[in-house]
């Protein structure tokens, strides 16, 4: 079977075999009939949907949120953590992804592991995310004018900066202002940054030798109690599950939205959007219930917030006589320009203890090669060579979870007793590793389309992911590896593995598929995230990103969502 033939059959197995279909709400069957025509219907209860719903509800608007997945009981987080740590031949997904609901195909050049890259449920993919929240750089909004590639965003950093600050307050970002490469900010982060790890100090010495500056990492993770949630207690399993609640999940804002009067329906996948006779406004979101009923939720305004794959899919599924190519798709750009960040990594062992796997998050990065990835550097005892190659931005990460976790080794070992303890002592303790993110440029051929050959549990064509990694991205991955190698060599690391151009994988950041722009001929939404074609449809999402940068996208998603909420508030 070639990569192009691969589909989600194996991933689908998990939910089907365990009986843990996506119905985690249990026997209770809450009222899932629609409300009367409301002010705003939000599709998707992840971070964008949660933030929009909360802000609008607290300002007095009638809001209904329709979420395809279930509500996951917070009381079960520790059991989910155990499920994440323990190997299981039944292949159970921690967040119940898979099965007919989530089927997909990947006819492109490369397989894309979609169902490990997202979560459907109240909280969305923040349920399993790492929680890294950086602002995009000013340069990211001006790729075309600055580098002559791709396109500029129709908004700039200065416009988004106040919303970034609001997003940091909403998510509870722990950070510091020690990053000399970061874009300007007016105020400190709401929470103090997590202190560097012991292994960070080893990296810092090596980086100084080759002229690389390190700094703290903004985390959407409580370094002290914040917003009714605990400080981090160090379970070390942040991704895919934080049992303490210290890591932000969008459940927080969905709950606040409900407290402010919003109505949130779970397990109601939206099947299509229906527009008025003039084709100018969306009239209703048609959704299905677990009892296989279908209802229409009418609203004055609609907000699509179901991520970079389901947003374009829903627009394509909403094709009508008037819009045979899908809703909001007169440009033909819906689903196109799919981008992800690619991972570059390298690691090995040193002849000293490195104290890994105490926590599951990162405390040091370097953004030195972000705005100028080809720049050289010179340190006290070495250098990073410069290059003139055409490259994209690089974000360097220093991992706190390099090498194996002892408990996971023990659970998978083919021995026990003293033999096992010897293996664990030999296997744990001396590892170090670096990661890096590299962004793809938008390319029309990378796209989400509908697969006419396969349908989901409601008979809708599943998303087909056409995806390949281009030469520029591979060149940038190679550059990231070059920098990583210099640092690790300066540290005296016996390098044992690397992930680069030939074996890279996606970081699960789905971007670009309903791109923003001023020209309705080439973009789906305008600079304020409203679709060009329909006057009451907004898409605050990474799907609106014009370019990807190399920063984790969720803080920018949150900033865009808060901006859309303000716009909607003033219009309604």
């Amino acid at each position: 079977m070639s990569a192009g033939d691969t589909d989600s059959t194996d991933e689908a197995k998990g939910a089907e075999d365990t009986g843990e279909t996506n119905d985690e709400a249990g026997a209770d069957s809450p009222d899932r009939t629609p409300s009367g025509r409301v002010d705003v219907c939000v599709v998707g209860a992840g971070p964008a949907g949660g933030l929009v719903a909360h802000r609008l509800a607290e300002r007095g608007h009638d809001v209904v949120v329709l979420e395809a997945g279930p509500r996951f009981d917070p009381a079960e987080r520790l059991e989910r953590m155990e499920r994440a740590i323990r190997p299981s031949a039944d292949d159970r997904s921690v967040w119940a992804m898979g099965g007919p609901r989530d089927a997909f195909t990947t006819p492109g050049e490369r397989f894309y592991p979609l169902n490990v890259a997202r979560v459907k449920g109240v909280g969305g993919s923040t349920l399993h995310w790492q929680g890294m929240v950086m602002r995009l750089h000013e340069s990211d909004f001006r790729r075309e004018s600055r580098n002559g590639v791709a396109a500029d965003w129709p908004v700039d950093y200065e416009t988004l900066a106040p919303y970034y600050a609001e997003a940091e307050a909403a998510l509870g970002v722990a950070g510091a202002s020690d990053n000399p490469f970061a874009p300007p900010r007016d105020d400190p982060h709401p929470l103090p940054a997590f202190e560097p790890s012991y292994s960070d100090s080893l990296f810092a010495e090596a980086c100084e030798r080759v002229g690389v500056t390190t700094h703290s990492v903004p985390n959407a993770r409580n370094s002290e109690p914040y917003d009714g949630r605990s400080a981090c207690v160090g379970f070390g399993t942040c991704k895919p599950v934080c049992p303490s609640g210290a890591k932000y999940t969008a459940e927080s804002h969905v709950e606040k939205a409900e407290q402010a009067g919003a109505r949130v329906l779970d397990q109601v996948p939206v099947q299509r959007l229906e527009h008025d006779a003039a084709g100018e406004r969306v009239e209703a979101a048609v959704y299905a219930t677990p009892e296989s009923e279908e209802f229409r939720q009418e609203a004055r305004a609609f907000v699509l917030a179901c991520g970079g794959v389901e947003n374009p899919r829903l627009l394509l599924l909403s094709a009508s006589e008037q819009y045979p190519d899908g809703l909001a798709n007169s440009s033909g750009a819906v689903g196109r320009y799919f981008m992800d960040h690619l991972f570059a990594g390298m690691g090995g062992t040193v002849e000293k203890r490195t104290r890994q796997n105490h926590v599951g998050f990162i405390t040091t990065e370097s953004h030195q090669f972000y705005d100028d990835p080809g720049a050289g550097a010179k340190g006290t005892d070495g250098a990073i060579p410069a290059t003139d190659a055409d490259l994209g931005p690089i974000k360097l990460e220093f991992l706190n979870y390099a090498g194996p976790s002892p408990v996971e080794m023990a659970l998978g070992a083919e021995t026990w007793g003293d033999d096992l303890l010897s293996q664990l002592r030999e296997g744990y303790g001396n590892h170090v590793a670096m990661g890096a993110l590299v962004g793809q440029l938008p390319r029309a051929e990378n796209r989400i389309s509908l697969d006419p050959e396969r349908t989901d549990d409601h008979g809708n064509p599943v998303p087909a992911i056409h995806w390949r990694v281009d030469d520029r991205t591979k060149r940038t991955l190679k550059r990231a590896n070059e920098i990583q190698r210099r640092i690790l060599e300066a540290m005296g690391v016996d390098i044992q593995w690397s992930v680069g151009p030939d074996n890279t994988g996606p970081a699960y950041h789905h971007m670009g598929t309903t791109r923003m722009g001023t020209d309705p001929e080439s973009s789906v939404v305008d600079s304020r995230l409203r679709t060009h074609d329909l006057s009451n449809l907004w898409i605050p999402s990474s799907s609106a990103f014009v370019t990807s940068g190399a920063m984790n996208p969720t803080l920018t998603i949150a900033a865009l969502a808060l901006r859309v909420a303000d716009d909607l508030d003033s219009r309604l």
Partner: protein, 183 residues
């Protein structure tokens, strides 16, 4: 290195079981369950706790002390909070006793540490996938070996054996990752 009841409680907490909710954690509690729900399925008269402690003494490193109390607290705590686990562990312990009687002619607790180890290996447990409703070796891997390993290596004492005082799965705070190794 001595395992403590506190280690077992920490491992239980990591599995989402609050001790206050399950009362006293002693084998007689499990024996009562043996007599009730699981009795029909149980194929050996050897008390479950006796079998599990004997197996833990083979599965755990020899440097570990106080295995009996640790395993009792952990297993009974899990069984009290999760009926499906209780049934599985009682049945699986009895299954191992059947093999012990067949192959070694004695209960597990009367076998040497080496023979207990050999019993598990002859069953194929070391290479078996952990499957709760699988073949005997797979069930033993799931309900006995991996349960015991999860309890030990997510506990602070188990972690320290390997050099990590805050192992994954244990809420050991945010100080240890910043500390250097002890010299």
């Amino acid at each position: 290195m001595e395992l403590t009841r506190r280690d077992a409680l920490a491992a239980l907490a990591g599995g989402g079981i609050a001790v206050g909710s399950v009362g006293a954690l002693a084998w007689d509690r499990l024996d009562e369950m043996d007599d009730a729900d699981a009795a029909d399925e149980k194929s050996s008269s050897v008390p479950t706790g006796e079998t599990l402690v004997a197996l833990a003494e083979a599965v755990y490193p020899s440097a570990v002390e106080n295995v009996g109390e640790f395993v009792e607290t952990y297993v009974v705590g899990r069984a009290s909070a999760r009926p499906e686990y209780e049934r599985g562990v009682v049945e699986t312990a009895a299954l191992v006793e059947e093999y012990a009687a067949e192959w070694f002619g004695a209960p597990v607790s009367e076998l040497s540490r080496e023979d207990r180890d050999e019993l598990l290996r002859q069953m194929g447990v070391e290479t078996a996938d952990p499957i709760p409703d699988g073949r005997p070796a797979q069930r033993v891997r799931y309900y006995v070996v991996n349960e015991l390993q999860y309890a030990l290596y997510t506990s602070p004492t188990g972690g320290k054996l390997v050099g990590i005082e805050n192992p994954q799965g244990h809420a050991g705070g945010t100080d240890s990752y910043r500390r250097g190794p002890k010299r």
